[in-house]
């Protein structure tokens, strides 16, 4: 199995050869012409920078995300200060720097969003490939498992798990992935059934190719487009999922700055400090919107016929 596409790609191209553009190159060019997708990518890059540079912001402002600054952050009446030079986006009700907390919250959102999506994708692709390729009883069992997963009330499961093992980032990622992989598995299963019957898989099967090789080398490359699209749409869903769980106190440790937890904190104070509600809400909205629009853009770029 050493002579794969990669082996051919590695071969130096002769100067006189007219080299055709691969499907990925074409898709990338189409994506670059999509204004909404380009703007979305810019927004995502900014959010990623916010997350990456969070410690830098903490250094510049001199505010730790977990430390309370009652002298400077609260007015004599005990209300949080608004946006200003010291606290860029104001302070929260306990006297913590909202901007620094949002920056650290971006880390949690992206970490959970991307890891849960990755986990759900890997698991969903494996289950979907097996169910679709083998069919029969394997498919029957896996399909029933997916039905059970989809009929689980996710909030109840989250409450029970938090009560049993305690809130943590890892648990949040696991819960989100567990409730997202079924959608991926269904799509992959359906596509695999289609490709299993195609003549190009028959061609390698008649040569005695193993099921693993057919699934990985012959079927999987054809699934990259739908899987990429679905994964890019799973990311914002996971981010909102995480915010929801954290808002309800079921997500990450409540002390950890997370957009959902910050929103939950704001509920008692938004009349006096609207920034506490507006800034995290807008950030969450922009991030999920950007991921959704980018997902749409990727879908259009990968399948221009639709």
């Amino acid at each position: 199995m050493s002579l794969t596409d990669a082996a051919f790609e590695a071969e130096p191209v002769h100067a006189e050869v007219v080299h055709g553009k691969g499907p990925w190159q074409l898709a990338w060019e189409r994506l670059r012409r999509d204004k909404a997708a380009v703007i979305s990518m810019a927004v995502i890059v900014l959010v990623a920078l916010l997350a990456l540079l969070a410690p830098l912001f903490a250094l510049i402002t001199g505010h730790d995300p977990l430390t309370q600054y009652p002298e400077t952050a609260l007015t004599p009446e005990g209300l949080p200060v608004g946006p200003g030079a010291d606290f860029w986006l104001g302070a929260d009700s306990l006297g913590r720097d909202l901007f620094v907390r949002l920056a650290y919250g971006a880390r949690i959102s992206l970490l959970v969003g991307l890891s849960a999506t990755l986990l759900a994708t890997v698991f969903g692709v494996v289950v979907g490939l097996l169910a679709g390729y083998y069919g029969g009883w394997v498919d029957g069992v896996l399909a029933r498992v997916l039905d059970v997963v989809l009929s689980f009330p996710y909030l109840l499961v989250a409450i029970v798990l938090v009560a049993a093992v305690g809130a943590s980032v890892a648990l949040t990622i696991f819960v989100i992935a567990f409730f997202s992989f079924a959608a991926m598995a269904r799509v992959v299963r359906g596509q695999t059934i289609g490709y299993r019957e195609r003549e190009f898989t028959e061609a390698v099967r008649s040569l005695g190719a193993s099921p693993l090789r057919i699934m990985v080398i012959d079927v999987l490359p054809n699934l990259v487009a739908p899987v990429t699209v679905l994964a890019s749409l799973l990311i914002p869903t996971s981010i909102v999922f995480e915010a929801t769980l954290s808002f309800l106190g079921l997500g990450v440790d409540p002390r950890t700055p997370s957009w959902g937890a910050i929103l939950a904190d704001s509920t008692d104070f938004y009349r006096v400090a609207p920034g506490l509600l507006v800034f995290p809400a807008v950030l969450l909205l922009l991030t999920t919107l950007a991921f959704n629009l980018l997902g749409d853009g990727i879908r259009d770029a990968l399948d221009p016929k639709r």
Binding site: M1, S2, L3, T4, D5, A7, F8, E9, E11, V13, H14, E16, V17, H19, G20, G22, P23, R198, E199, F200, E202, A203, V204, R205, S206, L207, G208, A209, R213, I217, D218, P221, N222, V224
Partner: protein, 320 residues
Amino acid sequence: MSLLEVSDVRKYFPIKSGIFFQREVGRVHAVDGVSLSVEAGETLGVVGESGCGKSTLARCMTGLHEVTSGTIAFDGDVRRDVQMVFQDPYGSLNPRRRIGSIIADPLVIHREGTPSSRRGRVRDLMALVGLNPEHYNRFPAEFSGGQRQRVGIARALALNPRLVVCDEPVSALDVSIQAQVVNLLKDLQTELGLTYVFIAHDLSVVRYVSDRVAVMYLGKIVEIAPGEELYERPRHPYTAALLSAASVADPDRPRDRVVLRGDVPSPISPPSGCRFHPRCPKAQERCRVEEPLLLGDGHKWACHFPLEPGERLRSAEVGR
């Protein structure tokens, strides 16, 4: 021993029904008792209407289908020495993989050679089938239908097979391209000493390439004979009807076309006796009851009342 010996092969596809516990409610008799042999170096043509089981027979020969009963004896390793050229030049090449990797697949799966020796072999094969070897890095979408079929042929030849089963290799192509691909197959046969099973519904293409021709109807071979013999002196009424429907290059040649009435009966419950009797102009009571056997020496046919050489089938009798 013949290169390939097919004896009384049957392939039934179960029809299942039910949501939870599927039970078999019927069977499609796709191939129903076919016996034939293929000699090394010859081309055996197989013709018949859509749904007569010729593609299923081809898939049984290449090991893609397990036979329901009967045996297929091949003098060699089926996975290696029997290769297939597929009908659909679009469906038979993986759109996400490069031409070079596709042609190298047989070598990779059978662990032949090193990556660099395979690359050399792929280039040789591409040159052999009339493709530019520099194009190994391209994707199937960058090729025309005829070129794609050449890629499929190159893939089939990668392991130096002894038998190549061509399942309607040109029926999806333009007529002008058909001739090129058919001639390529013929040239390759001379050059490499290949044996072909050539499946098609186009009678003139089959006549052009085949040494012997088998005619299939509803999962059975009704007549098999050397090419010229079959085309000039058909004995089975179905063969005669099929030949009369083929287009002829000479518009002045008198044509008495035998029009068969009705549809091909369902292969789920094929007719009793001779399967052709409901549509046969010569059918009699015996045809309804007794199944004719494929008999003869060299030229075999399965009919109780075969046409005499030179006899014409009259379409006036057809249908009721």
